[in-house]
Subunit: 221 residues, 2 copies
């Protein structure tokens, strides 16, 4: 799994002041949230203004990578060596309490702070871009695709964020109400939020009858 | 629905340069994405650094509201009248192409730019906080809960963002591959991503046997 765990700096930015018992700072917890997620949101500063983008990502060991078109404005900004704040959020449930105020959500959330650097080496880029595909769909990159080309590598910017300043925040379980409110005759509990995957839909433009492979039919994450 | 649609400014920040055909600027499209979502991500600038938080939100007419503890650092910063960039993202599918490069995701994404202002009027706050509950769980605020109290209103900061500078970006459908790649004998298509809700889990601490109401049993969003 992860043999060389990084030293995680617990900084002012990553230390939870509110609900400190929801804070988690160990890499196993954080990486399991990252590896279960499909996208992240990245915040950065552009001409003194906040900017945000949702984007795919992949973790490799103790780095998180994003990628995008070499000519996209947000990718150009992020690749210029500026700081970013990255959020990965999984929602797990709606928490219905006895008081309006105590309604909440169950979630697993990771915030990462770091400065991006462009991956310049083409061999490394090639391998990272294949991990991107497999982060989303394990087994896909090795299934006879047209490989990523020299031109794709030129057209694509890959940015690395070292995973050394981050924290997770997790809420699980039932509502926490004031003792006297438990007498109110209202239903309380959790509605689970599930991320599921539907039956694969074959591209009608397929020119042959290759069936959906097992990694597609049994897709989960 | 929305009788008074705002004039949406199409600005440099909200105009899509990449894939301009994926851009949508009409309120009906944007509001339907907002109203189907459970959380947003907010980016802001704090001491020249980017910050990001995931948080619940609610739309009322042409405003988006967030709320949080009066003493939380991020809420204090956001309530101080600074600019924010807000992202709401729904993922709809994994798009498996014939080339590694053309793999993609289907999604509905909204980005909003705006400056937050604190809601000061307590009556307005009370009504907004109830809409928050109903944005997440329609029908809930009126089901015999302990109402939001004067103290809750003091403890909670509510921030308003006017919805007048925003855009949606939407991708749907199958992969777009190069013509010659359609001959590759590899399965291509879409794995749908579904957000579903599990059977409600009753709080074991309930002191009575009020059954789960219909708006919980039939919950969807």
């Amino acid at each position: 799994m992860n043999k060389n765990k990084p030293q995680i700096k617990k900084t002012k930015r990553t230390t939870l002041n509110r609900f400190p018992n929801r804070g988690q700072y160990d890499t196993d917890t954080i990486y399991s949230i990252l590896d279960s997620a499909l996208i992240c949101h990245i915040a950065y500063v552009y001409k003194d203004e906040p900017r945000i983008i949702p984007t795919a990502f992949a973790r490799i060991e103790n780095d998180l990578f994003i990628h995008g078109s070499r000519v996209a404005g947000n990718i150009k900004a992020l690749a210029s060596g500026i700081m970013a704040s990255i959020s990965i959020t999984r929602l797990d449930g709606l928490v219905l309490a006895r008081s309006g105020f105590n309604h909440s959500m169950n979630y697993r959330s990771v915030i990462i702070h770091g400065t991006g650097t462009k991956v310049e080496n083409n061999e490394e880029k090639f391998s990272i871009l294949n991990v991107f595909i497999d982060h989303l769909i394990p087994g896909r990159s090795d299934d006879g695709l047209k490989p990523i080309s020299e031109q794709d590598l030129i057209d694509t910017t890959v940015i690395r964020y070292p995973l050394n300043e981050m924290s997770a925040k997790i809420r699980t379980g039932h509502p926490n109400d004031e003792d006297e409110d438990y007498n109110l005759p209202v239903w309380a509990g959790v509605i689970p939020i599930l991320r599921q995957f539907g039956e694969p839909i074959t591209d009608p433009k397929m020119r042959h009858s290759t069936p959906a492979p097992d990694y597609v039919k049994n897709y989960h994450k």
